[in-house]
């Protein structure tokens, strides 16, 4: 399985001992382990689908959102999406926070760097916004307060085409 092999090559290159699980029948593979970001242990999943020709990355936060902060938290995610580029966040029904990034590689031969950059992009965005995400998810700090704090200290830019 070409994508599974590529995933294993990426793991081997990082000199990790892990082996991907291969599901020959469904032509899928996956790997799951704990991944350290900001001194926290994230739940890392990388999966491949040979039939759909997809690379699939999921990173789950180590904490859940407080029940009374759900609505406020998704406002923060939307704010982050305006400013970010690759992949995206969502809140699942069980209040877990998921970052995910899928790439369709139909008729292409993805490089190890492509997999590496998928993971790097997720790690970067989580690192960049970790404090704000934790504050809104776990404390009484609101998204409005976060946005006000940020606009007081920086120029607001959106990662969208300038010409619109």
């Amino acid at each position: 399985m070409r994508l599974a092999t590529k995933l294993q090559e990426w793991i081997d290159k990082r000199e990790w001992e892990d082996k991907i699980e291969v599901d020959e029948e469904n032509q899928r593979s996956r790997i799951n382990f704990s991944y350290g970001i900001n001194e926290q242990s994230f739940d890392f999943w990388f999966e491949t689908d040979e039939n759909k020709e997809q690379l699939e990355l999921y990173l789950y936060f180590p904490f859940k959102i407080k029940k009374d902060k759900l609505n406020d938290f998704v406002l923060l995610l939307n704010f982050i999406h305006r400013k970010s580029s690759i992949g995206g966040f969502c809140v699942l029904p069980n209040r877990r926070i998921q970052y995910r990034h899928f790439v369709d590689v139909e008729n292409a031969d993805p490089s190890i760097e492509m997999i590496s950059n998928m993971v790097g992009a997720g790690e970067d965005i989580i690192t960049e916004w970790f404090e704000e995400l934790a504050l809104v998810a776990l404390t009484s700090k609101t998204t409005r307060e976060i946005i006000d704090d940020l606009s007081a200290t920086s120029d607001e830019t959106e990662e969208v085409p300038d010409s619109i």
Binding site: R100, D104, P110, I112, E113, V160
Partner: protein, 163 residues
């Protein structure tokens, strides 16, 4: 510029009479076209960045959210993002609704199919969720009402209970 050329190849294959705009100095390119989805005119941007090896796709809805529906839209978009895989849908500060999908193709020769599938995912999002997005963005319908409808248990009413 290899990525810009690939986008142009894709356009040519679609028989669109469009040409990618090149910025040789910054090694970027962009394409902006109107795209018909659900009989509405959506705004499509496809951009490339040769230095970062990025292909970027943005698809904008033809309407803005009413300002008093921003929070409802964002709640709905989280539900949509949790159900979908590729890219994200989000609300801009001025009420525009954007779907974005960016891929990094470092050391990979992207195929035309990869670009076509990026667009297919974005158009699929708006096709599948058009009613929900438009009703929450433009009417009094709330995100919670949409969730209640989506989460309603499916019952087979064609079979009488007594049977």
């Amino acid at each position: 510029m290899r990525l810009a050329d690939k986008v142009q190849d894709w356009i040519n294959k679609l028989d669109w009479n469009e040409t990618v705009e090149l910025d040789e100095e910054n090694q970027t390119s962009e394409l902006n076209v109107s795209l018909n989805i659900n009989d509405q005119s959506f705004n499509l941007w496809v951009e490339t960045d040769e230095e970062r090896d990025w292909i970027k796709l943005y698809l904008y809805a033809p309407f803005n959210s009413l300002s008093n529906k921003y929070e409802d839209c964002i709640q709905l978009f989280n539900r949509i993002n949790s159900k979908r895989r590729f890219g994200v849908i989000f609300l801009l500060e001025d009420g525009r609704i954007a779907c974005r999908h960016i891929i990094d193709v470092e050391n990979t020769e992207p195929s035309i199919e990869m670009i076509a599938n990026m667009l297919g995912q974005a158009t699929g999002l708006f096709e599948n969720w058009f009613d929900e997005i438009s009703s929450v963005a433009l009417t009094k319908k709330t995100a919670q009402e949409i969730f209640d409808e989506l989460d309603k248990p499916v019952t087979d009413e064609s079979v009488p209970d007594a049977i």
